[in-house]
Symmetry: C2
Subunit: 714 residues, 2 copies
């Protein structure tokens, strides 16, 4: 069956291409729809009255009759269309009337017969389509039909092909999802039938890469089924060239040597202050790298007291990484030597390649690298840090706070922001990597490595584009079950300028496709740079929540209200406190305090009230996460609150009870020190904001859901 | 005419209330619609065939006929409805058929005649309605009709009554606005006709406060007009009691004495450390208040070296403010003395009133205050600061950075966050005021004062509710043309629980009403606490933009992309750079740098390139605002960038050229110092974020638009 349909469609597409067309006719579309089981209205050409009657009888319900003539363009004007005819007599009369009208309209017209078409039922219009995204390849789209949705752009995308479950999930991924479930007492649509239309379209484009776009517009969805009024198929002008790919083992092999090197050569090492080759040498040495550092410079005998080599060919022993600090035009020759020396990684700091218009030079080094099996990082980067190996192969300054976060950036400027933020917040980092022009190594290689790297517990990436969206999604899917992946996708709003030949294409603004597909891959998308940095800092600090029940405990009623807003904004849910737990909280708070959720212990309370209520929240297994609102008072000063909170959390951690705890501290400047104290002890705390702690908790929950870590909530 | 309609509707409503009803019948609704010129389908009761023919002829188009019988509830089942009849013959036949059907259905039914009703045209369904909001009173609502909009809640609100222009603006305030203008080649609807329906409904509820809700659902809007299918009117069960109000002069008079006092009495002043009466005395003294400070305490002779009085009655001279630092139960007696002493302001720090359930005690002090004409601040507050008068009447610590921002908070916790944030960022403040229970003075009083206060250039308010939304809107409208008003409205998402009797009521989630009406009042709504604080700090620093042309100048291409995203996110527009200006920029930047907008000067450039391009942006009168992206390099270190930027901006300021300039600094920790340096010199600069500087610029633009300060853009 599946083979049959492939043969049928292959033959049809070959014929179309043979005629030099990229657009299929309606009958050709129907052939494809039938091959893939995409439900469309039954339709037959009747050459005489009795054929029309027989066809109408086969379809069962009411039909539409349309004149078929190569000489009549405007069928309706010629009286050549009758809608909603049922029963032999009426079909007969309508057939005759149409033919008579057509002859009266143009006596010379060649009449080939009458098209008998199943009448579409009344129902909810939806759109199912597929497009070829420049980043992700074939993607399938779903949305409600009609003018309103066209205006509101309420549409969702998935990588094609989708499974039946994925297709079904698309029905709930639009804002107007409730319409499909039925509103105002109306019955919902046949969800499985709609999902099947989606699944089959996605399979079609996956099977035939030369199909650029498919539109079923509209599909009429009813409680009984889903029928596509029309199928439109457009072929691609040309196919993208295949990309060189590496196996997972190849990637891990070279990445391990890049991130855990024993020997590094610096090509263009220099004794001259101000030169990049001097900064890199200094940083390698000052950063405390314990492996070999080999300067390469034909004009020096030694650099920073280390023997210099005229060529990388002369460097003794096995070298893992060659860091390039020479002008762009000298890179090809040196890279050839690196290749011949079988060094697996070239870190290309120099600029002067594609980013300055020197595409040929970049193509040249990529070709050299591919020839020798050398992986390239860059060019046009600040370098990279691998902190657990005390490696600072950059022209910036060393960074020594070892920790669980790997950060990458496509842009050097953003890389510097990462460094400054990490330093000022004392964020523990496992790696910072610049990707620059991404001539070779890119986000999916890094993700593959960091997914395995035992030092890395969270990966945060700034990117402007993905060279291969499918490879990235595959790497993300492999990583997310174990560690959160945060992505800041820049260039969100520049989208939409792309020309599109179909309705679905017009709806597929780049960013919406990115957004849906990254979410499907379980990636946490950061809305901005500051958010990415905060998520990177905070996510590894928080334990994974085991359920949905969030409880707010606050000393400031005002913070409680704002924290509740933030909980809702971040898609979290305030636990409905069971009566026994409510009663337990009430025992600790003043009679006019509010139990329920938020638990408002009121402002003037001593440390013991904070401690007792936090302890209760940690103790009760039905509570899965705590959001604390602290109010600076003389009775409970900031550091007293910080100390007691950290102590309670640590005590439960020792007992094996770990829950995410975040805190918002409202008070005078002493709260800043208290927040840092808490952060370093596993409580994500911020001063002067009720939004940020909850946003971080929300990000952790998004990851926990994607990773399947959440048990049942209330 | 206007009087006529008032008389008609008054009589009708009185009759309805006389019958003890709160819901109007359909014919009663039609009477009201007719009185207010709300277009509804023509409708007449025909007692015989010829009356039906005559009525149908008067309406012109097709009509609906419906049996009228008190004994037939389900007209359709009884065969008592015929839709779309036109012409005398058909009307005659239909009339007879209906009556015959009805008799067949129930031979005993009393038949009063047949209702002849104009048939609604096909068109776009919209909803027009009005509800009584607990905060804002009568508000009018507009949205698209139909199931989809019910699901998406795409609806907008205004205070009733609206002008014709305001009504028209509502058509553009829904997300699906484009539908009304016509899409896919369809004609748009008659916008004026729709707006008239809105205006008339708003006038109706404004004229008759006892009307709680009105629904026109749906209104059918066509290119030729707008016709309400149905009007539903619900009366209020009861009217809210009138609120005690003060004139603008009365408010300014007492507020002036509160914020610029010459003499302050502290009731409950104490020598005992740890007591609030001791903190308040210390803070008044330490804050440097130059006026008289009179401690009141019957048990002490002197407090902090000042003569103490047994009662406020004994304090000599005119006293402007009495600060209460005594337990709640002692407040009423002391307040009576304050009243008799003709002190205009009582600042009630104590808690133990409505917030702890002691409503009677709060009612008691309000009554005492009203009796004596004393205005109350609080109770349940930290107090207030009036920095330009060196006044710190709080139990917190003095704050001495005088400046242009007045901050208020309903919650004490948020007040402490304000203080800490202001101190750590050295934000210049004119006042910080706690409002607490708002038993009397509230946001509209403060707004009225700060609007006039020459020291205040920006007002930022945290609030959880408004006692009188209309008074607040009036105060905001009076203030916004001169100064920005920022509001953080807490409790955004707790809405929607309110019971509602009408469709419009169900759509009126509290927050949507707040959001639309605050925006209409020109208020800048801060999405969170951190945003409110940043807007408060930054808005007075930025000059007012004079047009829409924003230009990004960046050293980091990566920042340029993120800054562009932020520009779009904040509703700003990147200037299309004219060729001559583009050419001028190109002269300063490397050939591979990108002119256009963002102007990407590239990363390795010296200070002179930053300076030349910033100078160009300041110089060209077509450029209205600058967004700078700085990338930390050895060639242009952070403080060098900060110094040159501040110098260029200052130089143009001296020449009378002021434009808002904001900056995002990407780099190592030295950028933090550079940001503070820039901020203090009029450039709003942030490290490690591309979002925040543009969000602040966006807030300034929102205000400039509301204040009518924007000239023409590109």
């Amino acid at each position: 069956m599946s083979e049959d349909r492939t043969v049928t469609v292959r033959a049809l597409l070959d014929a179309v291409r043979g005629e030099g067309r990229t657009s299929l006719t309606a009958p050709e579309g129907k052939v494809i729809a039938e091959a893939y089981g995409i439900a469309v209205p039954g339709e037959e050409l009747a050459r005489d009255v009795e054929e029309a009657v027989a066809a109408a009888a086969r379809f069962g319900g009411p039909v539409v009759l349309k004149i078929v003539s190569p000489d009549i363009l405007h069928k309706t004007e010629a009286g050549g269309v009758v809608v909603g005819v049922e029963g032999a007599t009426d079909v007969r009369n309508a057939f005759r009337a149409i033919v008579a009208n057509a002859r009266a309209h143009d006596p010379a017209a060649r009449i080939e017969g009458v098209q008998v078409q199943e009448l579409l039922p009344a129902g909810q219009e939806v759109i199912v389509g597929a497009v070829t995204d420049p980043t992700f390849g074939k993607v399938v789209a779903f949305g409600l039909g009609g003018v309103l949705v066209e205006v509101l752009k309420d549409v969702t995308f998935r990588l094609a092909p989708v499974t039946a479950d994925e297709a079904l999930s698309m029905l709930d991924s639009i804002r107007a999802a409730q319409v499909l479930r039925g509103v105002r007492g109306q019955a919902g649509v046949d969800r499985w039938a709609v999902a099947e239309q989606i699944r089959r379209v996605s399979q079609l484009v996956a099977d035939f890469p030369e199909i650029a776009e498919v539109d079923l517009n509209p599909v009429i969805a009813t409680p009984e089924g889903a029928l596509a009024a029309d199928i439109r198929v457009i072929l691609a002008e040309r196919q993208p060239p295949p990309r060189r790919t590496y196996t997972r083992d190849e990637i891990l092999g070279s990445m391990r040597r890049l991130m855990q090197p024993r020997s590094v050569a610096v090509i263009g090492a220099s004794n001259e202050a101000g030169k990049i080759g001097n900064s890199v040498m200094h940083n390698l040495v000052d950063g405390g790298f314990a492996g070999d550092i080999h300067p390469v410079n034909p004009k020096a005998d030694d650099i920073l007291g280390r023997k210099a080599y005229a060529s990388v060919a002369d460097v003794p022993g096995e070298v893992d990484v060659a860091v390039f600090a020479i002008p762009a035009r000298l890179v090809p020759a040196a890279l050839g030597e690196v290749g011949r020396r079988r060094i697996p990684n070239a870190v290309l700091i120099p600029s002067g390649f594609a980013e300055t218009g020197e595409h040929a030079l970049q193509d040249e080094i990529v070709a050299i690298a591919e020839r020798h099996g050398v992986r390239l990082l860059g060019p046009n980067i600040y370098g990279y840090y691998s902190t657990w190996h005390d490696l600072c192969a950059t022209f910036c300054t060393p960074y020594d706070v070892k920790g669980p976060v790997a950060l990458t950036s496509q842009s050097g400027g953003i890389g510097m922001a990462i460094l400054g933020f990490a330093r000022t917040t004392r964020t523990g980092v496992s790696a910072i990597v610049g990707l620059g022009n991404k001539s070779d190594l890119d986000e999916d290689d890094l993700l593959t490595w960091f997914g395995e790297d035992p030092h890395t517990e969270c990966i945060a990436m700034h990117l402007e584009d993905l060279k291969d969206g499918r490879a990235f999604v595959a790497a993300a899917r492999a990583t997310v079950p174990r560690k959160p992946v945060v992505v800041l996708k820049a260039g969100r709003t520049a989208a939409g300028a792309r020309a599109a030949g179909s309705h679905t294409g017009a709806l597929a603004g780049d960013d919406k496709v990115y957004d849906d597909i990254l979410r499907q891959a379980g990636v946490i998308r950061a809305p901005g740079l500051a958010d990415m940095l905060e998520y990177a800092r905070a996510l590894p600090v928080l334990p994974t929540p085991r359920g949905d029940n969030v409880v707010i405990i606050t000393g400031a009623g005002g913070s409680g209200v704002l924290l509740s807003d933030a909980v809702t904004d971040n898609g979290l849910s305030l636990m409905e406190i069971p009566p026994d737990l409510d009663e337990a909280f009430r025992r600790f708070i003043p009679p006019f305090g509010a139990a329920g959720n938020p638990v408002d212990i009121t402002g003037g309370e001593p440390p013991s009230t904070y401690e007792a209520t936090i302890r209760l929240g940690m103790e009760d297994p039905r509570v899965h996460a705590l959001v604390l609102g602290y109010w600076h008072t003389i009775v409970t000063p900031p550091m007293v609150f910080a100390e007691l909170t950290a102590r309670v959390v640590a005590e439960f951690r020792e007992r094996g009870v770990e829950k995410p705890v975040v805190a918002s501290l409202a008070g005078d400047v002493e709260v800043e020190e208290a927040c840092q104290y808490l952060f370093e002890r596993g409580v994500v705390a911020y001063p002067y904001t009720t939004e940020r702690p909850v946003a971080v908790l929300g990000a952790k929950y998004r990851w926990a859901r994607a990773a399947g870590a959440l048990g049942g909530g209330s």
